[in-house]
């Protein structure tokens, strides 16, 4: 402790170690206070956990987009939150149309599947266009440059959607099949949450299959290993990168639909920003560039966001702890970057990658 690798005393390491101890203490004390006060019953904890898992699975789906692109290009797609927004926004119009014809409630499964496909395709198109226009011409340039184009692209997309559809929130129509709750003993879990979690699981398994079992998946892994050698093996790098952006976009679009069905306040042009940052946090948390890491990181972040304020912050006597949900994600990001930059499952980030 308090020493760097060469064994000398270092103030930076000292501060970080002190910080580490303080954080562990705060978490333990807060949790102990809350648990011993018994303010929240077991059923409520289970409910929080379920809500956290379903929110986390949305984060995980978005985080997969970040991590896929990072794995291949070592670049963070800042505009990914807007890809998510594009899918959620366009599926809103489809949902409205389906609802007007009554199809949505007659064939809920089919129409939700339709919405997934539609939102996925729109998001895929947006992601691919962003790659083609904003990233590909800059592939060899310094790392700061694609980041700034990404900011430009995300600004452009946000306001393009605002220009097209206005700045109001638009709420998805209610799907009757997703109403109600599943009752187990004295614990009741809303069906929407179960649906969100299950559909996210299906999509994640689909991605896993795609990456591990198909030819294009093998090509993706090869490109992320070494672009030059992959090119020598006859892999079309540009196509693989485009495909990766497309897959990430599809997952983000599907996440957009899930988010729309899950959150009653609806969609607007700015909705992608905060989930985008949180999903990025999740990707870093799990170890950026690592697919199972992104899934795990997303679920983990969702659960921490749901339980953390009630367990730790309330226990420490901080008022309005649930209002601090958004701050938790930022704090987690900073803590992960300080204490374990490689994330839960990731390999250590070398100097050049960070």
């Amino acid at each position: 402790m308090f020493r760097n690798k060469s064994g000398e005393f270092s103030w930076v390491d000292f501060t970080i170690d002190v910080l580490r101890v303080l954080i562990v203490l705060a978490v333990v004390v807060g949790a102990w206070n809350t648990l011993s006060s018994g303010r929240i019953s077991l059923a409520q904890w289970v409910n929080l956990l379920a809500a956290g898992l379903s929110q986390g699975s949305i984060y995980a789906l978005i985080a997969l987009g970040y991590t896929l692109v990072y794995g291949i290009l070592l670049m963070i797609n800042f505009a990914h939150g807007e890809v998510f927004m594009a899918g959620a926004f366009s599926a809103f119009f489809l949902a409205e149309a389906l609802n007007r014809t009554g199809f949505l409630n007659e064939q809920p499964l089919l129409s939700i599947l339709l919405m997934f496909m539609f939102a996925g395709l729109i998001s895929m198109t947006v992601a691919v266009l962003v790659e083609r226009i904003a990233y590909r011409p800059l592939r060899g340039s310094p790392r700061l440059v694609p980041l700034i184009t990404a900011i430009g692209a995300s600004f452009f997309l946000q306001y393009a959607f605002r220009g097209l559809y206005g700045s109001n929130f638009k709420a998805y129509p209610q799907v009757r099949a997703l109403q109600g709750a599943l009752q187990i003993g004295d614990i009741s879990i809303p069906v929407t949450q179960i649906f969100v979690f299950c559909s996210a699981l299906v999509l994640m398994f689909g991605l896993h299959w795609l990456v591990e079992r198909t030819r294009i998946g093998k090509a993706m892994r090869a490109v992320s290993e070494n672009k030059e050698v992959a090119r020598l093996m006859g892999i079309d790098i540009d196509w693989v990168i485009l495909f990766t952006f497309g897959v990430g976009g599809f997952l983000a679009g599907a996440a957009g639909v899930i988010n729309g069905l899950f959150r009653p306040q609806g969609v607007n042009f700015y909705m992608g920003f905060i989930p985008g940052i949180k999903a990025f946090t999740a990707a870093v948390l799990g170890g950026i560039g690592n697919i199972p890491g992104a899934m795990l990181g997303g679920l983990f972040l969702g659960v921490i966001e749901a339980i953390g304020p009630n367990l730790v912050l309330a226990g420490l006597g901080i008022p309005g702890a649930n209002q601090l949900k958004d701050v938790i994600a930022f704090t987690m990001l900073v803590l992960v970057l300080i204490f374990r930059p490689q994330g839960i499952l990731g390999e250590r980030l070398s100097e050049t990658k960070a």
């Binding site: 963070i76 600004f155 220009g163 940052i277 930022f330």
Partner: protein
Amino acid sequence: MANLNPAGVFDTSYAQDLRIDRTPRDKLWKNLAFIALLLLPLLSHSSPLGLAWISDQYVSLVARVAIFVIAVQGLNLLVGYTGQISLGHGAFMAVGAYGSAILARELGFSFWVALPVSALLTGAVGLVFGLPSLRVKGFYLAMATLAAQFIIPWALRYPMADLTGGTRPLSVPAPIIGPFAAYAEDALGIDDPLQFTAGDAYFVDVITVVLPPHTGKAPRIEIINPSGDVVPYGDVNVNLLMDGYGNLHSLSYIASKHGDYRVGLVAEDGDEDMPALVRRGKALSFASDIAMYYLIVPLAVLLMFVARNIIRTRTGRAFISVRDNDLAAELLGINVFATKLRAFFLSSVYAGVAGCLLAFERNSLALQMFELDVSIEMLAMLIIGGAGFPLGAMFGVTFIRLLQEAIIPTLRPLLSDWLPQLFPFIDVVNITSAINPILFGGALMLFLVLEPRGIAHRWEIFKVAWKIRPYSY
């Protein structure tokens, strides 16, 4: 062609390479440009010369461009020269703006003291948010500075709402020099108002009410304007001074309109007898646009010059080496972390000065002036103008402001004409309100793809081409 050297200016010594003015002609042009800038407001409608050749709004437009040139030049030191990204520059401007406004309102600091103090304060805040640059780079640093963009406005809005007015706009007194000339003292009792006459646009009456030390609630100071209304507290150009007990102690009121004003004391609890002292005198005021212009523009030119010189120093060369290769810089004996922090500090000081000037130029502050959009806008201005070029900030801000103030207003009627015909589902109101940021994001992307070195690079090419015309060699 292979062995021919192009014509043009060539350096024969290191000193020449380092010079700011490479040729006497450069110097001449720069001086002419500066003189032209100084002459500009004299041609406007409200100038004392009465020429009225250009509209007044251009004077304040140029002043506002100059303010943003200062802020973006700060960003240039950080992003362009040191290679550290910051998405929190707008929030740093907010620190400078609110810092100086609070110093002037609550502590009665004059503008001339509030400016450097708030700039240093902003520098200190910038240092804090620059600390993550020790461990993280690139996108992660962008995230850490983005946190500044969330934390600072939040802090100004909620915990410091008493000082900043929270979501309500905060009024800021105009800078003055003085008071001097005909400095007179009068006694001011309760219910015994004092009459005074407001000055013209350049010289104002400054009324300072000095209350004796007291323990109870301070008497209210009421100012009645020429039409007989009590001037609302928030709208008054006031400097407040507090005594040791935190009570309102003194108030300077700068009348902004012509006419007879009255100032009186109104006791808050009971009619305790409290004779106050009133000092009054004339002061040179910067309330008018033209006066503000002569304050801002020379300061902006000076700060551009300072930034140019910082780059020529040891510190500036350290900035560039950290940007180009931090590992190599460390091997050369440069303390990379200290260099990064220095860049963060300098950059925030520039942002603080810009924020302070913005506060005193607008006379009113609102938190919406410093949101994330502003930070991104400034980054875009820098990239479009040319990051890492001394004149990049100037080109970028001028280009974007031209786009916003000249091109978009002419485009808007056109858009609202043909867009609904092409896309019937589009609401015209929506698209015209969003056209600014859309063009902005688009311009940022296009510039990075097509001309990543920005307008400044094009300008260098143009200068060389002009110098050696009509032969390319």
